[in-house]
Symmetry: C2
Subunit: 205 residues, 2 copies
Amino acid sequence: MVKKIKDTGAEEKILAAARKVFLTQGMAGARMQDIADEAGINKALLHYYFRDKDKLFETIFLEEAQKFFPKINKIFNSDDALFEKIENFVHEYIDEMQQNPYLPWFVMNEMNRDPQKFLDKIWGNSNRPDPSKFLSQIEKEVKKGTIKRISPLHLLFNLLGMTIFPFISKPMITRNLGMDELQFRTAMEQRKKEIPKFIMDSISK
Amino acid sequence: MVKKIKDTGAEEKILAAARKVFLTQGMAGARMQDIADEAGINKALLHYYFRDKDKLFETIFLEEAQKFFPKINKIFNSDDALFEKIENFVHEYIDEMQQNPYLPWFVMNEMNRDPQKFLDKIWGNSNRPDPSKFLSQIEKEVKKGTIKRISPLHLLFNLLGMTIFPFISKPMITRNLGMDELQFRTAMEQRKKEIPKFIMDSISK
DNA sequence: ATTTTTGTTAACCATTTGGTTAAACTATAT
DNA sequence: ATATAGTTTAACCAAATGGTTAACAAAAAT
């Protein structure tokens, strides 16, 4: 009956280990034994805390997705002006990615595997990314004539692509361009300013 | 000794099946039995033609990667003017993705899993994407003053991101925006013009 | 025609892997 | 001290999975 009065850390250690293994190996590639080893505990303990692999995976995936998407929503649905919104989005997103570089790949990977499952299950219609306000905001600006005529959808694609893609392709890009970890970090840091500038240069009249 | 005088199709059927299964499930998620079923042949025949799973996977991956990257190289290393190069790249890339939508995700996915392995093995220094000429070309244009001051690296990231990202995030994006297959296709078709325009609007003086 | 090589299969095998069990250990309450 | 509930482990189990074998069928070579 008494629950979690004291946590020596077993459960937390499992979660940390599972996070690491799932994020790098994906659901299919992850091994329960690897997670146990990584956590420094017996494999059976995994099943003691989390019934089975699916449950454990879902816990991790949900946790990661939920700490990630709401932030975006908040920005997209804020009352900021368009340019500030773009700036905020790029800034926050890149910060998040710097701390958690495997996240976007992980999310998209599992989503590719079984789109139905996650879009329904993980985002309970509550925190699913909703760019509709952002899109209509662009349209409004176009009509007002403050920015050039551009399709909101394409601007969204551009914004997302420029921001997220480097992190997804990191291994390929860095290896191919001979960048090291630090160079990549600084490049991404620069992009916080480069991307908004690039967009504004393109759409402002 | 005589090899492939006639191909009833077993080998081809295996390759087609393996392509399908590997592209959608990844190396870790793919099951040899699934490939056999998909090909309509006995599982043992897989091992008759391709020693083991690794070999089969490598065949597919190599085949896919090699029909994909050289094309890009040709564009990046051509003598076309910068804008034409960008136009060509976007055009060719989107065409390729339309026909083979799982490819970019597949390539990057497996590359994330084990970067060392593929970058050395798959691209034998021959057809590895090499944007260096493209990068220096941008720098030249900047120095000539024909375009705004922009970091070549960031422009490359922007170009790649805007072009490739929608295909990687397709399941997420389409579901979230309520797009169907046709709408997605037409949107991507539009991007062939939208992306070059977006870039030129941003960097031209 | 018959031998030999190539292609194909069903049945099988060994290992991996997710998951269970029963026993042991730890702390807390009585 | 002892019972009790919660925690952890070693040993085990069954299913899944990659891979092998031996027999059989089809084709090619003799």
